[in-house]
């Protein structure tokens, strides 16, 4: 499948929903820690779901720079472009 920035964002939002029990509106600026109260382990588990969905690997070393939903989308796009 040919992914675009829009379709990647739609998928990431969907994968993020289980981590959003309060159902806040997810925007590119949504902060995983401050807005969704995700801890480091939850963030790593989310990344595993994303890896499976897009069939990519996201090395753990990239995670400290991932704060917002947009950061996640950017990481996915960057990894997809490597394949």
């Amino acid at each position: 499948m040919q992914w675009t920035a829009d379709t990647v964002q739609t998928e990431v939002v969907q994968l993020l929903e289980p981590f959003n029990p309060k159902g806040i509106e997810l925007t590119p600026e949504t902060d995983l820690s401050a807005d969704l109260y995700m801890d480091s382990v939850a963030a790593m588990n989310l990344v595993m779901e994303i890896e499976d969905r897009f069939e990519i690997d996201i090395p753990i070393s990239l995670l400290p720079d991932v704060n917002s939903l947009q950061d996640l989308v950017d990481v996915v796009l960057a990894q997809l472009s490597k394949d």
Binding site: V41, A42, M44, N45, M48, E55, D57, P59, I60, S61
Partner: protein, 404 residues
């Protein structure tokens, strides 16, 4: 802005924990009475959360060996292994560990944490890939990070998930190292090593097994999960600790790789820290001798583990894994876990309180670990106290509901 501001959220949570009773992460043993008893806040407490699996910390032979070493070699080495801190006793213990595990060589570290740091950071470099089980201990994560390698997590205890990720990496150059633990410390669940070995063979990668909680506990000779699974030849690197079944402080890495000795002059956590004190080395040597002397301590440990597992199951508690010397009781939430933990301590039973993110799947646990030194009467008392505290928890929860 203070450097500590970033901890505000964590500190607020810590404050809430402490407000519910004691600080579960800062308990002080006023006096250690035996391998299974201590005085805490003036109260006699049965210790069921010390990882002292074989109960050897007060074994007279081992205590004598440690005392003799202090008298013979002094209180500390005041130096690193690459300077003045290698004594003949360090070398002798390394040889003893290598012989026990049937490996070509072994390296000793001052702690188990440093063993993972030193072995992982020594083995892997920036051009390599480490694939680690998602539920790995913090020391494994930290060692992996220190290595500079590309780190890929695979789903806990899932050889199929590892297989999938290795397939994706098939064209990537550099060495590939898979890291798993024999027994996972929080839940006490066991790695399916035979299946991991199958995946590792098919992909032609190397495998490291951390036997921290399984050494001296599993296997006919106490060599760990790799022995009990019959796959020792397929495990390339073994890491272990002295601070559990061996009743001392320290850790080791062992391997058959001819180049393994290169870590002595390339692994920074091995090179740039003071070497283990003579008493630690002598203790590990003596306790390893006890493990080699026969299975009686392991048998006693497993009898106790089965008794606690059965007792708590009969009382209706949910235990997270099959029977092992780690019996992790699942609690319905953080408030209940914290209440129970405080109540247990008040009633004379110390267990580990384990909370997310330090636990798998966000679970809140009362983690018990058995010892060969526990008596059946102590295990019975622990079950009774769990029952009594659970009744107290229910009353507390009812009162909370009524107040809302």
């Amino acid at each position: 802005m203070s450097l500590f501001d970033k901890y505000d959220q964590v500190a607020a949570r810590h404050d809430r924990l402490v407000a519910a009773g004691r600080d579960p992460f800062n308990i002080c043993m006023d006096r250690i009475v035996s391998a299974t008893e201590a005085i805490v806040d003036g109260r006699e407490v049965i210790l069921v959360g010390t990882n002292n699996y074989l109960g050897l910390t007060f074994d007279q032979d081992c205590v004598d060996a440690a005392v003799a070493a202090v008298k013979r070699e002094g209180t500390g080495t005041t130096g690193s292994r690459i300077a003045n801190g290698t004594y003949s006793s360090h070398r002798a213990l390394e040889q003893e560990i290598a012989d026990f595990l049937g490996r070509r060589s072994a390296l000793v570290f001052p702690t188990g944490y440093q063993a993972n740091l030193g072995i992982l950071a020594g083995l892997a470099g920036s051009k390599d890939v480490i694939l680690l089980d998602a539920d790995s201990h913090a020391s494994i994560y930290d060692g992996c990070r220190l290595s500079g390698a590309t780190l890929i997590r695979f789903r806990h205890n899932s050889p199929a998930d590892l297989d999938k990720r290795l397939s994706r990496l098939k064209d990537k150059e550099g060495g590939k190292l898979v890291v798993v633990e024999g027994i996972y410390s929080m839940l006490g669940d066991q790695a399916p090593l035979d299946e991991f070995v199958d995946v590792k063979r098919r992909h032609g990668v190397e495998l490291l097994v951390d036997e921290a909680h399984s050494l001296g506990v599993f296997g006919e000779n106490g060599r760990g999960i790799a022995e009990s699974a019959g796959v020792e030849e397929d495990v390339d690197y073994v890491v272990g600790t002295f601070s559990k079944s061996l009743g001392a402080v320290g850790g080791f890495g062992a391997s058959d790789q001819p180049a393994f000795e290169r870590l002595r002059y390339t692994s920074r956590p091995y090179m740039f820290t003071a070497s283990s004190s003579p008493s630690s080395i002598a203790t590990a040597m003596a306790t390893l001798g006890k493990i080699k002397s026969g299975p009686h301590l392991r048998k006693q440990l497993w009898d106790n583990a089965r008794m606690l597992y059965q007792g708590l199951t009969d009382l209706g508690f949910t235990i997270c894994a099959e029977t092992s010397p780690i019996v992790a009781v699942k609690m319905p939430g953080e408030a209940a876990a914290v209440f129970m933990w405080n109540a247990l301590l008040e009633a004379g039973v110390y267990v580990n309180l384990a909370l997310p993110p330090g636990t798998p799947d966000g679970s809140c646990l009362l983690r018990c670990s058995l010892s060969a030194a526990h008596t059946p009467a102590q295990v019975t008392k622990v079950c009774d106290v769990f029952d009594q505290c659970f009744q107290a928890l229910r009353s507390w929860q009812d009162a909370q509901s009524a107040a809302e």
